[in-house]
């Protein structure tokens, strides 16, 4: 995207009918670190990559509990994401208080989208620079929505946002038809594998990712580091035994039994790396 004379104001249309500021705000989402969401009939899993500025600092919080039955993962300007999470929590708790009943996810998402739209039509505001993956349960089942800075929202079976999310999306596209009937464990496994896709060779560790689950009879919660690491270890062992043919994307250099460092970096969706030797040093 290049600068042009119609992109200064959110309230200026381009001659081709575009609002550049809104589109630029969606670019901000693409710059943020990845967030992934998947759902089955009974569960929704949200996972994200935690990038720390330096080794000395802590990770940014990108997954927020909105209510017992709703959680959100963000990508983009995390400060905007925090503010919107606070709004969502407020709406959820007010509904809960008035009606003694959980706020249906679909309604929360519409309210969120309407709030985002306002910022695309005021000269003294700017669009929110954050994309939100909202996962939750209500009467009609498990839902996953993506809320865009433009004020649009879509429902998804599985989705990924943020940098290198295309890799995750490619993996999810191959597998999404099975998700509806996936078990909770398989869903988490798929989320972790999709997260690994966005890492471009870097080893998936529980210290650089966060996983959260919400399901029937299971309130929204973030899995602790140990649990996540165990899950990673489990499927990394499994993928070593499986033949490379069915899921080439899940293979890249994951076949280390002792959890030792990778040799070669893996390209997304590349041919399986046979012959990578564990480093014994």
């Amino acid at each position: 995207m290049f600068r042009n004379q119609y992109d200064t104001d959110v309230t200026t249309w381009s001659p081709t009918g575009r609002l550049f500021q809104v589109e630029y705000s969606m670019e901000a989402v693409k710059q943020g670190s990845a967030a992934i969401g998947l759902r089955s009939k009974t569960h929704v899993v949200l996972a994200c990559v935690n990038k720390a500025n330096s080794e000395l600092s802590s990770h940014q919080k990108k997954i927020f509990k909105v209510d017992d039955h709703i959680g959100v993962a963000i990508a983009g300007l995390t400060a905007d994401g925090r503010v919107l999470s606070r709004y969502m929590r407020s709406e959820a708790i007010n509904h809960s208080f008035t009606y003694e009943s959980p706020l249906p996810v679909g309604r929360l998402v519409v309210q969120l989208a309407d709030k985002a739209q306002v910022c695309t039509q005021r000269s003294w505001k700017r669009p929110y620079g954050v994309g939100l993956l909202v996962g939750g349960l209500d009467e009609s089942g498990a839902h996953l929505y993506y809320n865009c800075p433009s004020g649009n929202y879509f429902e998804y079976q599985a989705f990924a946002i943020g940098s290198r999310s295309q890799a995750a999306k490619t993996y999810l596209e191959r597998r999404f038809e099975n998700f509806t009937n996936s078990s909770r464990e398989d869903l988490i496994k798929d989320a972790l594998i999709a997260t690994r896709e966005t890492l471009q060779g870097e080893k998936l560790k529980s210290s650089i990712c966060t996983v959260s689950v919400v399901g029937v009879g299971e309130p929204f919660h973030i899995l602790d580091q140990e649990t996540v690491q165990q899950l990673i270890d489990t499927f990394e062992l499994v993928t070593e035994e499986e033949p490379p043919a069915p899921e080439p994307a899940s293979e890249p250099a994951a076949a280390d039994q002792g959890g030792a460092e990778q040799g070669a970096g893996a390209e997304q969706g590349a041919a399986p790396d046979e012959g990578v030797a564990p480093m014994d040093i």
């Binding site: 009606y99 003694e100 009943s101 249906p104 009467e139």
Partner: protein
């Protein structure tokens, strides 16, 4: 006691008159008890059709049982105009709920909660809606029956009543109500309660409606009357044992 805050502030001006207090102090046209029970398929609710103006039986065809949305039934005793106001609030609530057009709908529990909030908030402003409400309904096979008073006290139970019904009908229900009553048995039980109320509540009227709500929907009966019996021997020559009486 100092002047209590009301819904509109008094205007003080040397040229205009001071606005009087505008908050509910007494009820004027009132309905008496409502009685309701859970039964096999849902909820049964009964109320007579009287609207009393103090001791005068002013209105004799007041419908005190009304459906709310797809899943609920509301019965009210107390000030009739406040009941009508509540129906307007609920109308708007259901309208907005329908406008979402998203497959979700407010069930009886949600409506009951909402009403509790409304009643309690009005009570806090010292301007109550002078009603005792009974909210019953069925949603997704779950039966719900609750009550809210004019001060915001609310609870759920298998059988509820308002006003005199609490004193005269509930003891009967405590003894004779059981789970999975058939429709006929439920109606007979309610009629027994309404008959006692008719005999003993001076503001009761012998013209009642019984409403039922099930998963399928709401049915409110046509008005009808209960048979009463007054032929007790003690009522013949009532003054026979009274000294100095004629």
């Amino acid at each position: 006691m100092e002047m209590l805050m009301d819904s509109s502030q008094a205007e003080h001006s040397f040229l205009s008159s001071v606005t009087a207090s505008e908050r509910t102090l007494n009820p004027y046209v009132t309905g008496t008890s409502v009685v309701a029970i859970k039964y096999k398929d849902g909820i049964l609710m009964a109320a007579d059709m009287g609207g009393s103006y103090g001791y005068t039986l002013r209105y004799k065809s007041v419908e005190r049982l009304k459906p709310v949305g797809k899943h609920s039934l509301l019965g009210a005793s107390g000030e009739i105009s406040d009941f009508q106001e509540i129906l307007r609030y609920l109308d708007e609530l259901i309208l907005y709920d329908n406008m979402w057009d998203d497959g979700n709908s407010l069930g009886p529990k949600e409506v009951h909660s909402y009403l509790t909030r409304v009643m309690y908030n009005r009570r806090n402003k010292f301007n109550p809606l002078w009603n005792s409400l009974i909210l019953g309904g069925v949603k997704n096979g779950q039966k719900y029956l609750g009550m809210v008073s004019m001060i915001g006290v609310n609870f759920e139970d298998n059988h509820v009543a308002t006003g005199f019904g609490n004193h005269l009908a509930r003891p009967i229900l405590r003894d004779e109500w059981h789970d999975n009553l058939s429709f006929e048995d439920g109606v007979k039980l309610l009629e027994k309660c309404m008959r006692v109320l008719l005999y003993r509540d001076t503001t009761a009227v012998n013209k009642l409606q019984i409403a039922k709500i099930t998963e399928e929907g709401v049915t409110i009966s046509q008005p009808y009357s209960l048979k009463t019996f007054w032929g007790y021997s003690a009522f013949q020559n009532p003054t026979v044992h009274a000294e100095g009486s004629w």
